[in-house]
């Protein structure tokens, strides 16, 4: 297995050359980061190069890195990460591209390369507001008709912005600002284990 991963790494380096911004090998998986400008060309190489043959796109998702590591993140805010699979070689790779502009995240669409990416990109647009240039049908997909905002961004509150109720006077459903108090039962912490007997296990 390790030898196979090495081979994939070498093939990726040979095929993509200087388009690779970074190539990380961790936990038996390889992550390739490319620039937004090279995104589509790199994706096409990944699919068409017989040494790689990533004919399948399994998943694409948006990631908002703004609060990564409690403020330790220095890079761009939004990324689109896709999981690719080659059935021919039986290996996987992760392809990531960061959107250049944090205010208006824009990357090229991959619909010309893998047709099934269509809905995954719609989802990333809906939940993170990442725009996919050239996408044929970039509508919201998971949130409600007429929803405002991009709920999976880290600055979007978990309770949402509006709540819905029936208004007896107007005899219809109305939206109003949420009335729930935000609360966090278990705080989020990043630190090393410092309790118990460390040497035991």
């Amino acid at each position: 297995m390790a030898g196979k991963l090495e081979q994939l790494k070498n093939n990726l380096e040979a095929a993509l050359g200087n388009r690779i911004v970074s190539l990380t090998q961790a936990l038996g998986e390889i992550t390739v980061v490319v620039n937004a400008d090279d995104y589509v060309i790199a994706a096409r190489t990944l699919r068409d190069d017989p040494r790689l043959a990533f004919s399948q796109l399994m998943d694409l998702c948006g990631v908002d890195y703004s609060t990564y590591g409690e403020g330790a993140w220095r890079g761009k805010r939004f990324a689109a990460t896709s999981q690719l699979l080659s059935m021919e070689h039986n290996w996987r790779v992760r392809l990531r591209v960061f959107a250049e502009d944090d205010e208006f995240p824009l990357v090229e669409t991959l619909t010309t390369i893998w047709a099934n990416v269509n809905w995954y990109e719609r989802e990333a647009f809906d939940l993170f507001g990442i725009m996919f240039a050239g996408h044929p049908d970039l509508r919201r997909i998971l949130t409600d008709y007429g929803f405002i905002g991009h709920p999976f961004r880290k600055d979007f509150p978990i309770s949402g912005q509006v709540e819905m109720r029936y208004d007896p006077q107007q005899k219809r459903i109305v939206y109003q600002p949420v009335t729930i108090e935000p609360r966090e039962i278990t705080p989020r912490v990043i630190r090393e284990d410092q309790y118990g007997d460390l040497g035991r296990h």
Binding site: L27, E29, M87, N90, A115, W119, L142, T186, G196
Partner: protein, 417 residues
């Protein structure tokens, strides 16, 4: 002469054949579908966002609510992702238990498919038969986890507890006399493995029964043969996985190709279809029922012979036994920290997949070293399959649309998440 125009029709979201809350905006030319635009998201619960607010252990039961007919397989992918980030090895016995319950899940899911598709296409009996068998398997899940559906049985590091030595039994009541209860309890006199063994011995005959009802049934074949044909190229292009892909003749099963846990030690076959139509996919699923039964038997045999731990001994990840916790200060601290703050997972990212009953189920997990995941992305097989409705539906009659929706076998829990 009157002007004839296509008309647009709304299908769902509340329609019994929509298998949940699928809304389809159909453009119809008479009875023939010209265009189909699936609208999803009616069941969107923002699970991935909620999981970011919960510790790794608290986020686990959310996975049950993804594909709620294949509960254990969802948990499996999530646990595998967490375990790979933590770098822990699951005890062998837990791996066998997981494989066994994955296959039980597969049977549950395929039985539901058989019943529901039968019901959709007018074979009411199927639903009654398959739900009779599902009942036995729900009892098994209840016996190990305490819950019939949302088990939360797999935990990072293993499974919650070992298989019980006794099966719950029926008691005589006003509606059931002692003799009936004795009959019902016959298979339940031993432990869980005995009950399951009894089930695996009965099950092939049940599958034969289903096949007598459907496989050569003229109406069934008229409704399924040549409906929703997917060529292998199309299946790959649409991102199909699981039976949807194998039904078209592409031999791809993660249990064989990228084996996880102890699947490489199991002896089983992967059925593939020839024509890629609804009928072939039905045959594939029926054969998978038999193959899953085979795997369960192998697991039972191994589990009987090899007792051992079922969860890792590292009490920073898995809770200490209650008895130890009562006597040892250190274990008390472990227990308290584990269930208040949770364990922290080293920074990194991982994409773990399992061969879910419906296809590839993947969990993409990003950790920044905290006790809560930074980002969880669930890749449900159904998402790609619903997307394909746009390609598969046009040209079919509206009655066949129901067959196509049935054969895609999606569950909105994992499509909408």
């Amino acid at each position: 002469m009157a002007e004839i125009r296509n008309y647009t029709m709304n299908f769902g979201p509340q329609h019994p054949a929509a298998h949940g809350v699928l809304r389809l905006v159909l453009e119809m030319d008479g009875e023939v579908v010209v265009n189909a635009d699936p609208h999803i998201g009616m069941l969107h619960r923002a699970t991935e966002k909620l999981a970011e607010q919960k510790t790794y252990l608290q986020a686990l039961p959310y996975m049950d609510r993804m594909d709620y007919f294949s509960v254990m397989a969802n948990e499996h992918a999530y646990c595998m992702a967490v375990e790979r980030l933590l770098g822990i090895e699951v005890p062998e016995r837990a791996q066998y238990i997981r494989v066994m319950f994955d296959e039980i899940t597969r049977i549950l899911s395929h039985l539901l498919f058989l019943g529901a598709q039968g019901l959709d296409l007018g074979a009411m009996t199927m639903f009654l038969y398959t739900f009779r068998e599902r009942e036995d398997l729900f009892d098994v899940i209840e016996a190990v986890s305490g819950a019939r559906v949302h088990a939360a049985y797999y935990r990072p590091g293993g499974v919650y507890r070992d298989l019980p030595d006794v099966m719950p039994r029926y008691m005589a009541s006003k509606t059931r006399d002692a003799r009936t209860v004795d009959g019902l309890n016959k298979a339940r006199s031993g432990g869980l493995l005995d009950f399951l063994q009894d089930f695996t011995e009965r099950f092939p005959a049940y599958v034969d029964d289903y096949e007598t009802l459907l496989t050569e049934n003229r109406i069934w074949k008229q409704r399924t043969v040549g409906i929703g044909v997917v060529t292998p190229e199309q299946a790959l292009q649409l991102g199909f996985t699981g039976v949807m892909l194998r039904g078209s003749g592409v031999e791809w099963d993660l249990r064989k190709k990228q084996p996880y846990e102890v699947y490489d030690r199991m002896d089983f076959d992967i059925p593939v279809g020839v024509n890629g139509d609804t009928y072939d996919r039905y045959l594939c699923r029926v054969e998978e029922l038999r193959q899953s039964n085979r795997i369960i038997r192998q697991c039972i045999e191994w589990l009987r012979a090899n007792p051992g731990p079922v969860i890792v001994g590292n009490h920073k990840i898995a809770p200490p036994p209650r008895a130890e916790m009562k006597g040892s200060m250190e274990e008390l601290i472990h227990h308290f920290k584990l269930f208040s703050e949770g364990f922290r997972v080293p920074a990194g990212e991982v994409y773990a997949t399992v061969e879910h009953p419906k296809g590839e189920f993947g969990v993409y997990l990003i950790s920044d070293g905290a006790n809560k995941p930074y980002r969880v992305k669930i890749r449900g097989a159904g998402f790609a399959h619903v997307q394909a409705l746009k390609e598969l539906a046009p040209g079919h009659m509206i009655a066949d649309l129901v067959a196509i929706i049935g054969t895609l076998d999606f569950v909105f829990g994992e499509v909408d998440r």
